[in-house]
Subunit: 234 residues, 2 copies
DNA sequence: TAACTCCTACCGAGCGATCGCTCGGTAGGA
DNA sequence: TCCTACCGAGCGATCGCTCGGTAGGAGTTA
């Protein structure tokens, strides 16, 4: 019972924790190359060299260049969806809180995992066959989560928007857009940015930054963790 | 004098007018290919075939594949900047109106010229040398225009934002993001979308959709024009 | 314990296809 | 005689990918 409670508390905050080097070295090399030159602009030789492997050495691990992209994109979409569901679950039954945490989660992901999110968004057209279909489905599901919460908030009279569907898209777009410009060496930490974006998003729904502005995220909670998931600062 | 006034009135609304087929056929073929497969995913043979030209025929008009991209991107950034300046100029001295028209202009451009805007944003990394530098400079200038108006509005007490800089970036991102998802066959016309986005943007600055919601854009002003710049409907 | 058989984890060399681009033309109007 | 507007053929480079290996560790047998 005691253990279960502890576990539950830990799990509840799992969506906020981002460890570094989550990708195997070879996928990380591919990701870095894709970010720099795009999928078609990247050669298999570049990726292999970056991973300190020969070309056949690379093909021992992945069947094709396409397989590298698929693995990266699938990792990204699964990670985001799991985190999003955790965030909404943590919020309980309050739509306002569900919305706030979901937007924080979205912003947090696109700042912490900006390279991953950038490729997942920009290289959809380079995905072949059903990988592309599956990816688009995930994107739509992500958008739908925000739509649903906003619609629920509208019904409850908590939110006020002239065009909820457009507002929802605008909010999701501004969050996913973070991946395009966010730099780790910039002024804002992902956590600070996420709180600000959640507040901006709330404004579009007629809810001021108002109550509970001091989110748990701004408290001294350790957020960055090492490869084993343990805090490495804070 | 009379002529000059008429010209001035016409010019003042020029930023709202979008004619089709603004690009020479060859550049349009290149743009369509870049949108479908990306710059590196596009072969010069594909572009040539699309333009009903042989490969040497293509090279008669443009020196290289890179030159095609540069021409497209330069056209896009010049068009947007000129329109933005016209929009702000039309607004007169009211920051609130300057902001509203600038956001409408931004949204309008990214909906009407979504392919152009999409490539200009996503293929920056494929630009070589000073073309890339020049393009980034233009992007920054565009962002700066919004920053400046928001800052002015803050000083005048018209706008209220906790973090004006972040709000500004969020607004610009959500507008440029239109190019990623907008479809001409969707539910909203570019003009309807632009009005909605301007209102959403105003909300983030603590200004309700409020006054003057019926913008000139929703009035029966003809907006689409033919290749010669004349209205073709309305 | 030495020899043998697997297995994983690679690599040097290179294949066929395709890439961006060019050479040396032609056709037709001024 | 130019010039513009093209094109068939093809060059050298590079692409994604593969062939036929080797190195070394684990497990099995004599």
């Amino acid at each position: 019972m005691k253990v279960e409670t502890a576990k539950k508390v830990e799990d509840a905050a799992a969506w906020r924790k981002y460890s570094e080097n989550v990708l195997p070295p070879l996928l990380q090399a591919a990701l870095d190359s894709f970010v720099e030159h795009g999928y078609h602009g990247t050669t298999i030789r570049t990726v292999a060299a970056r991973a300190k492997l020969s070309v056949p050495g690379l093909y021992h691990h992945y069947a094709s260049k396409q397989a590298l992209l698929v693995a990266i994109v699938q990792f990204a979409m699964t990670d985001l969806l799991v985190r999003s569901e955790d965030a909404v679950a943590e919020a309980g039954s309050s739509v306002e809180e569900q919305f706030r945490l979901l937007i924080e989660c979205l912003a947090l992901f696109h700042a912490h995992r900006s390279e991953l999110a950038f490729i997942a968004a920009s290289e959809i057209r380079s995905l072949e066959g059903e990988s592309r279909t599956a990816h688009i489905k995930s994107r739509d599901k992500q958008q739908q989560m925000v739509d649903d919460i906003i619609n629920q908030g509208m019904r409850e009279g908590v939110f006020d928007a002239e065009h909820p569907k457009d507002t929802s898209r605008a909010i999701v777009t501004m969050c996913t857009g973070i991946a395009q410009w966010y730099r780790r060496d910039g002024e804002l930490s992902p956590e600070e940015l996420a709180v600000r974006y959640a507040n901006i998003a709330r404004m579009t729904l007629g809810v001021g930054p108002g109550s509970r502005r001091e989110s748990v995220l701004t408290a001294p909670t350790p957020v960055l963790t090492d490869a084993r998931g343990r805090p490495d600062r804070g």
